[in-house]
Symmetry: C3
Subunit: 232 residues, 3 copies
């Protein structure tokens, strides 16, 4: 674990976990009415989005999950979720904050995932893959546990693509001998910029399409099953 701590400073790791926790709370605040989540539900959402990506990363690398080696990760993720809950109404009004927060968080989880995999000796392609899984894994866990359609499969590719390009940046920089810290920062910036530009320039409209589809579903009150595939 020494190399890992060397690569990802604890404060940076906790920052990503905390921002993920805030996101989880904001997601939870979107549930209204009968399915309104209680305090524990909000905390669980915070844990899933704050720690889920790192957990998936470490399982895939094959090391004990770093987020469970210290008390701080759980305290940070659940604390951030409860703070995020209190701020949710304010934050929802500032759409720019949400978009940038989201872009930075997937950038951080992706870059940390790829960096850690590379430092532990994995080849470039799996290292990039692990970074992407770390970036989107928390939201997959969230959707599966909440019984929602998995966003990454339906929202549009640009989410995962932004993470992938950022993680590839880290891997390429590392292969040219760049130190890990600037390589990771470059990866975060690349992912965040692609993601923010995609939202600004409406590339493939991932958010809108997703909201639209869900609104339609909410109106009709049903989930339409897809045409059955012809083969297993």
């Amino acid at each position: 674990m020494n190399e890992t701590v060397f690569v990802i400073p604890l404060w940076a790791d906790l920052l990503a976990v905390g921002l993920g926790g805030v996101q989880g709370a904001m997601f939870a605040s979107g549930f209204q009415g009968q399915r309104r989540l209680d305090l524990l539900g909000v905390a669980i959402m915070g844990l899933l989005l704050g720690m889920g990506g790192g957990l998936i990363r470490d399982l895939m690398i094959g090391v004990p999950p770093a987020t469970l080696q210290s008390n701080w990760y759980l305290v940070t993720a659940s604390g951030a979720a409860l703070v995020g809950m209190l701020l949710a109404e304010v934050l929802h009004r500032v759409n720019t904050v949400i978009v940038v927060l989201d872009a930075v968080v997937i950038g951080m989880f992706g870059a940390f995932g790829t960096s850690k995999a590379l430092v532990l000796g994995l080849p470039a392609v799996p290292a990039i893959f692990i970074g992407v899984c770390a970036a989107v894994g928390g939201s997959i866990l969230r959707d599966v546990i909440m019984g929602l359609p998995v966003a990454i499969m339906h929202v549009g590719s640009l989410y995962a693509v932004a993470a992938g390009v950022g993680c590839a940046t880290v891997a390429v920089a590392a292969s040219f001998g760049a130190p890990m810290v600037p390589a990771a920062i470059a990866g975060i910036v690349v992912t965040a910029v692609i993601r923010v530009l995609a939202v600004i320039f409406d590339l493939s409209l991932p958010e809108q399409r997703r909201l639209h589809r869900r609104k339609v579903a909410a109106e009709t009150g049903t989930i339409t099953i897809v045409k059955p595939p012809a083969a297993e």
Copy 2:
């Protein structure tokens, strides 16, 4: 693995796995009509509830799953599931049995999870978290694989809270230097008592609310999608 065997005697571990297997079978027997599960389906439910929690615990701790290091776990879980299937009709009539069984099982999985994490050197907060995940993990796996709403998110917090208080009891006792065996027993008792009291005194009515919601859904025949969250 030596310390683990030292902490959790094999018979106690297998008892928890077997009781979980019985629960799985009783759950499976609730499926009637078109979705009635066959023998293999019953066995799978038994494996998920009997071994799922331990599997999640060991993945989170980062050790090879104890339930797969010996032939006994799989034999016990699937055997208990088939016995449970035969007894399901009788057991369902004795509601007290179900409630107490359920309370003891989550207590055991929680206490064993936290004990094992502590013995392997994890700090208190992650150790408690791992215990809670071990206690409720089997039912999460079950719900996800059966395509049901994840009970722990909708039934009410008291389920996870009972597990959490029991696991915290283990961690606090251990931090005061108590030996692991009495600490674990204390944790099991605390969780089971909280859970049983909650059902007796109707605290937050977790079972009824859950059954009610599912009945409503069964009548209308649809799953209503929640209002879409405004943010990722």
Copy 3:
């Protein structure tokens, strides 16, 4: 990892991964209309079916995932998925190809899973269990992430039973001192033959029943919730 490479030659492992990737693409091509998957979605399906089983196997054994130790697995699975996508229309017309492909793939994943578990010292029962999980694990991941009913729970037991008998063949042969390579080949053949015979002789009609149920669901446009189980 040396023993593993010794047991499962890289080309055989990549063949299984590649065939799984093709299956993923053919599955993805079944989604039409609004839920039609884009290129990335097809690649994700290929990764899930090509690498999901091996990932689950290695997590259960407690070793770092072999599919992430080399660049080849990810390249093979996603490449095969894209090739499979181009060939999907042709392949769908040749039903025999689909059935045999499917039978051979579950045979390979099952036999490799059991072989690897045995070589790494696990007892026979968990080794067989891990083989079955490796054989069906990719399709479970696929169904959970796509929000579909988990096929293995609803299609009929014969799928898992075929994998189980093949994996047991490997374990029994190994316990009689047979070398791993012929034992694994025997396991693959047993699984594939059972599966193909089951389809030919219409045993329990797993495909038809599954397709029928999904067609009904597609017509009514709703998911019907099962009768609520009476116990947790």
